[in-house]
Subunit: 127 residues, 6 copies
Amino acid sequence: MPSDRHARGLAILQQINPKSADALFAELAAICPDLSRFVTEFAYGDIYARPGLNLAQRELVTLSALAALGNATPQLKSHIVGALNAGCTRQEIIELMLQISVYAGFPAAINGMLAAKEVFAMLDQAS
Amino acid sequence: MPSDRHARGLAILQQINPKSADALFAELAAICPDLSRFVTEFAYGDIYARPGLNLAQRELVTLSALAALGNATPQLKSHIVGALNAGCTRQEIIELMLQISVYAGFPAAINGMLAAKEVFAMLDQAS
Amino acid sequence: MPSDRHARGLAILQQINPKSADALFAELAAICPDLSRFVTEFAYGDIYARPGLNLAQRELVTLSALAALGNATPQLKSHIVGALNAGCTRQEIIELMLQISVYAGFPAAINGMLAAKEVFAMLDQAS
Amino acid sequence: MPSDRHARGLAILQQINPKSADALFAELAAICPDLSRFVTEFAYGDIYARPGLNLAQRELVTLSALAALGNATPQLKSHIVGALNAGCTRQEIIELMLQISVYAGFPAAINGMLAAKEVFAMLDQAS
Amino acid sequence: MPSDRHARGLAILQQINPKSADALFAELAAICPDLSRFVTEFAYGDIYARPGLNLAQRELVTLSALAALGNATPQLKSHIVGALNAGCTRQEIIELMLQISVYAGFPAAINGMLAAKEVFAMLDQAS
Amino acid sequence: MPSDRHARGLAILQQINPKSADALFAELAAICPDLSRFVTEFAYGDIYARPGLNLAQRELVTLSALAALGNATPQLKSHIVGALNAGCTRQEIIELMLQISVYAGFPAAINGMLAAKEVFAMLDQAS
C-alpha cells in the first residue's frame, strides 16, 4: 500500500470501480475538485485502506448503508459494481437486499434489488 | 435446519442473541405477541435462515443498516451482541462504524461507536 | 368551528390532547412562544381543522408518519394519546404499528409498539 | 379469506392493485422471485389480511409512511392507486398529503401531492 | 413588509425565486391550491419574513436541511437559485455542500454538489 | 492557520467547543482513537478550516443538517455551544430551529428548540 493518502486512495479506487470514480471526478472537476480529493483521501485513502475488514466486507457495509438510507441511487449502483469487483457474488448482493427489508422495509429492499438487477444487466451487456 | 418457519427462526435466534430476543418477546407479550411471531417467522425463519450469506455477514448488513439509519439504538445494541455471537470480532464492528462515517456522516459513526463501546463494556463486566 | 385560526387550533387541541399541548407550550414559553403559536395556528388551526379527513383518520396519518420516521418519540407518544381521544381504538394503534414493519422495517415497528405499550400503561395507571 | 398465507396475500393484492403487483413481480422474476413471495406472504398475507384496520385505513397508514419517508416514489404512486381501490377518495389522499407537511415538512408534502396528481391524471386518461 | 401574511409571503417569494414558485403554484392549482396558500402564508409569510436571520442565512439553513435529508431534489435545486438571489455566492453554496459530507455522508454531499452544478450551468445558459 | 491537518483541526476545535471535543475524544480513546483523529483531521482540519464560509456560517449549516436529520441529539447540543462560540446569537439559533419546521416538520423543530433551551440553561447555570 502506498504510504501517501492520495496514492493509497487511488490504488483502492482502481481495484473497486475506477470507471465510476473517473466519471464522478470528471463531473466534479468544473465545480469542486476538492470534493474528489476528499473522497479519494478520506473515504478511500483513510477508511477503505484500513485493515480489519477486507474490501468485500467493506462493500457489504456500504451497500447496506446506502440501501437502508435509500437516498443515493447513483452511489448505490456504483457500489454494486464495486462489490462485485471486490469479490462479492451476485447472490450475496441479492441476499443483502432481501435482508434490508427487515431493517428498512420492503420499498427500500425492492428499490435496492431493482438497482442490482439494472447493474447486473448492464454488466452482462457490456461483456 | 427445521423445516417449520417458526422453529427455524427460534433456532437462529438461539444462536445469535437469545437473551435479547427473550427480553423483547416478554415486553411484547402483553401488547402484541404477533409482532414477536412475525420477527421470529419472517425476519429469522425466512430471511436469516437463507443460504447465500453466513450469519456473520448478515450481522454486518444489519449493523450497517441500523448505524446508518441511526433511529433504533436498542436494536443496534442487541445486534452488536448478535454480531459477536455470529463470529464477528470487536475489531470488525469498530471498523464498520468507522466506515459508516463515509456514507451517513460522523454523528452516525460516533453514536454507533459509542453503542459498541457500551456493549463491549457490558459484556466484559458480565464475564 | 371558530373562524379565527388561533381559536380554531386551540379548540382542536382541546379535543385531542390538551394536557400534552399545555406541557409543550409551557416548555416553549421561555424560549420561543412563537413556535407554540405556529403549532396552534398552522398545524391545528389550518390543517387539522380541515374537512376531508376526520380527527381519527388524521391521527392515523400522524402516527404512521412519526412511527416511520422514528425520530420524534415524545411527539409519537403524545399523538398516541391524541389518537385515542380522537376515537381510535388501542387495537387500531397496535395494527398500525404492525403495518409500519412493512414500510419502515421491524425496528421502527417495535419501537412504535413499545411506545404504545408505555402510553397505554400510563393511561391505565392514571384511571 | 384463504387460510394459506400465499393465497390470502394474492387475494388482497387482487383487491388493491393487481396491475402494479404483476408488474413488480414480473420485474423481480429474473433477479429474486423470493422477494415477490415475501411481499405476497408477509406484507399482504400476514399483515394486510389482519382484522383491526380495514383496507382503506391500511392504505392511509401506508401512504403516510411513504410520503413522510420520501424515499420510495414508485411504491408511493402504486399505493395511491391502491388507496383508491380500497375505497379512499381523492380528497382524502389530498388531505393526507397536506397533513404530512406538519410532520415531515413542505417538500415531502409537495412531492407527495404531485405524485397524487400524476396518478389521478393517469387514471383519468385510462378511463 | 406587508402586514397581511399572504401579501408578505408573496413579497418574499418575489425576492427569492418567483419563477420557481409560479411554476409550483401552477402545478398545484389543479390538485390543491391550498397547499400553495400554506407555502405562501406559513413558510414565507410567517417564517421567512421574521427578523433574526437575513434571507441569505435562511437559504443556508434551507439548503443544509434539504441536502442532508436528500429526499427533495426539485426543492433543493429551486433553493439553490433562491440562495443566489438572496445574496449567497456560488462559492458559499459549494462550501456548504462540502460541509454536508461531515454530517450526512459523502453521497449526500456529492448529490448536493451535482445539483448545484446543474443549477449554475442552467443559469449561465439563460444569461 | 497551521499547515498540518491535525494541528489545524485542533486549533479550530479549540475555538468552537474544546470541552465537548475533549469529552468525546476521552470517550473514544478506549475504543477507537482513530475516529477522534478523523474528526480532527477531516471534519475540522480539512473542512471547517476552509475559506468561503466563516465559522458562524459553518455552524448554521451544521445545526440545520443535524436538526433536520434529528438522529444525533448529543452532536446537536454540542454544536449549539459551538455556534455560540463561533459568534452566532441565541436568537439566530432559535430562528434556525423555527425554520426547520418548514423543511423537516414540527417535531424536528420542537426537538431542536428544546435542545437549544437545555443548552442555554446549562450555560446560564455555568456562568
